[in-house]
Each structure stands twice: as C-alpha cells, then as structure tokens.
C-alpha cells in the first residue's frame, strides 16, 4: 500500500479492529518498518491492554491534543520488537475531545518529524465522530469484516463513508473465518464477501484460539505464536509492504477436492 497513514475500521464493533491493529502493526515493525499504532477509541481504549502495554501508559492522545505533553512523551515504545510504538487513547475523556484538524497535524508530525514509515490508526466502532476523526488523517484503510450478516452490511456502509472522505486505497481483511463452516456452506466464502462488497482483499484470517490465548497474557500473536492467524497477520503486513504473497491453506482446506482427499486418507 502507498498509504503511510492507514485507518483500521469496520463499522460494527467486536469484529477484530484492535486485534488487527496490534498484530498488523507489530508485523509491519517485525518486517522492518518504523510503526506507530494509535488508539482513537476515547473512553473505551483497549489497544494498550491488547498489546500488553497498559502498565506503561502515562500520557495519551488527548494530552497531546491539549498540549499537556510533547508528542514524543506520549509515544510508548514496545520493547519486544524494533521500532514499534503505541499512542494510547484517553480513558477518562469522551469522543468530543477529538478534533480532526489536530488528528491530521499529529499524524503529519509523526511521519515528517518522527520519521514513522507507517501510522496505523485503530478506529472506534460506529460511523460518527470517533470514526470520522480516525479516518480524517488516513490516506488508506483496512476494513475488517467477519463473514456474517451484520458485519458485512456495516462494512459496506463504512466503505461508502471512506469513499466520501476520498480515501480510495481501501483493502479488505476477512477475519474470523471458519473453514469447516465454509466447507459445509454455512458461512460466506471469501469470494462471496468480495462479490458483495466490491473492494480488494488484503488478508484472510481464520478464527484461531491462539489469538485469544496471546491476548490473555498481553502477547502479540504475530510476534510470538506459530499459528494460522499469526501467519495471516504477518502475510497482511507483507502485502501492505508490496510483497506478492499468495493466499493459502484456507481455500485448500475448504475445497471440495481436498475434502475428498481427506476422506480417502490423502492430503
């Protein structure tokens, strides 16, 4: 992706925006970029706990907005990987503390003065102020969708709103797909979701207990675990960096022929 400032969004809550931000952000850093992840869910911040950095938050985004600290003081360095930083949201303020102009200024300074290669902005759920502020500074977007009715519908709304903001580099991450259900015809396939939403794919992440297990202890799966979801997040990071990484395993497992193979003891 050309975009250096990328918003992670979905419309619907609970589909994996924060998990995606943490895992893709960390994977981008692991693959050589200087990355900052920004939590814009003011009042309901969670990126800090998902990354296991909650104990180190001193200043937050609103403190920077309101001049109570320098931008660099609010950047929390993640020591587990080179060049990964967190800018936390305020937990005590509300979404009205956000300001599109200030958000744009901060993101510009992160890129121009602090030399970040990538700024990943975790958007709150919904389509109002919080989302609008998160999107205001973005040049590109990762839309996270689960293959179920409410999430797909909301994703379509969000895609329309991103277009209205003239954010055109918008890529889709299908999260929490369950290959066994897809195989039975009880879950939308990747191609179904793409056909309905009409935007380009950048990642398919299977439902994976490893994510929850990592998050429980404040680890980031894309840095530590050898799981399918972890591989998927690393592949997304590589695709963002322009590598041509083929989509694997899921389709193979869900396919009719591999099903036959399995039945007859092959594959």
């Amino acid at each position: 992706m050309k975009a250096r400032a990328i918003v992670v969004t979905s419309g619907k809550g609970g589909v994996g925006k924060t998990t995606t931000t943490a895992n893709v952000g960390a994977a981008l850093a692991k693959h050589g970029e200087k990355v900052v992840v920004i939590d814009t869910d003011v009042g309901l911040r969670n990126l800090d706990v998902v990354m296991g950095l909650e104990g180190r938050v001193v200043f937050d985004l609103i403190d920077v907005f309101e001049g109570r600290c320098k931008l660099t003081q609010a950047l929390i360095r993640d020591k587990r990987v080179e060049n990964l930083f967190l800018l936390a949201a305020s937990q005590v303020r509300d979404k009205n503390s956000l300001d599109e102009e200030k958000m744009e200024t901060i993101v510009r300074r992160l890129i121009e003065e602090e030399n970040f290669d990538r700024v990943i902005i975790d958007s709150p759920a919904g389509i109002e102020t919080g989302f609008q502020t998160a999107a205001s500074a973005a040049e590109g977007a990762l839309v996270v969708v689960n293959p179920e009715v409410a999430s797909v519908r909301d994703a379509d709304r969000i895609i329309g709103l991103l277009e209205a903001r003239e954010i055109y580099e918008t890529k889709l991450i299908i999260n929490r797909i369950r290959p066994a259900m897809v195989k039975r015809g009880d879950m939308l396939e990747v191609n179904d979701v793409l056909e309905i939403l009409g935007i380009n794919l950048i990642g398919i992440v299977p439902e994976d207990e490893a994510i929850l297990v990592s998050t429980n202890v404040g680890n980031i799966a894309s840095l530590t675990s050898n799981s399918k979801a972890s591989d998927a997040f690393n592949n997304i990071a590589k695709r963002i960096q322009g590598q041509d990484i083929p989509y694997q395993s899921l389709e193979a497992e869900g396919g009719f022929f591999s099903g036959l193979k399995r039945m007859f003891g092959g594959g």
């Binding site: 009715v149 709304r157 015809g185 179904d192 056909e195």
Partner: protein, 83 residues
Amino acid sequence: MWFFNRKKTKDVLKERLKVVITYDRAQMSPGQMEELKAELHKVITRFFPDENNKEINVDIEHSDNSIRVVANVPNGRVPTNTD
C-alpha cells in the same frame, strides 16, 4: 445424498445481503419502495386509464458503480399480424 439438495445457508445470507445493501446504497427502505410503486401506479393510471397497469414493474437496479430505480410501464400493444 441428502446434502446435495440442502440449500446452503450462506446462499440465503448472500441473497439477503445483496438486497439489504442495495437498499442501503440507494438510501431507501423497502417500505419506501412500496410507497413509490403505489404512487407511480396512481400517476400512470391517470395518464393511461385504459392500460392494464398491473404490469407496472418498479425495481432497484444495481450495477458496479450506480444504483438506479427503474420503472417499466407497458404502454400500448403493437398489433401483431395473425394471418
């Protein structure tokens, strides 16, 4: 085998999503669509009282980059040579 005849639930979902997203994109509800049909029917009947207006068909069409509401109004018959 039974599962060859079973309608996949994901196909039902896909159709439902296509319909609901089309209405969302058109910023119109299915109820409004019904109202529009009824109104159109009244107006068209005023202009063409003799036609069989039951055939009026209003639909939302959805292509890659546009949404259009299409009303199809049969207006008169072309005489056909039945020799």
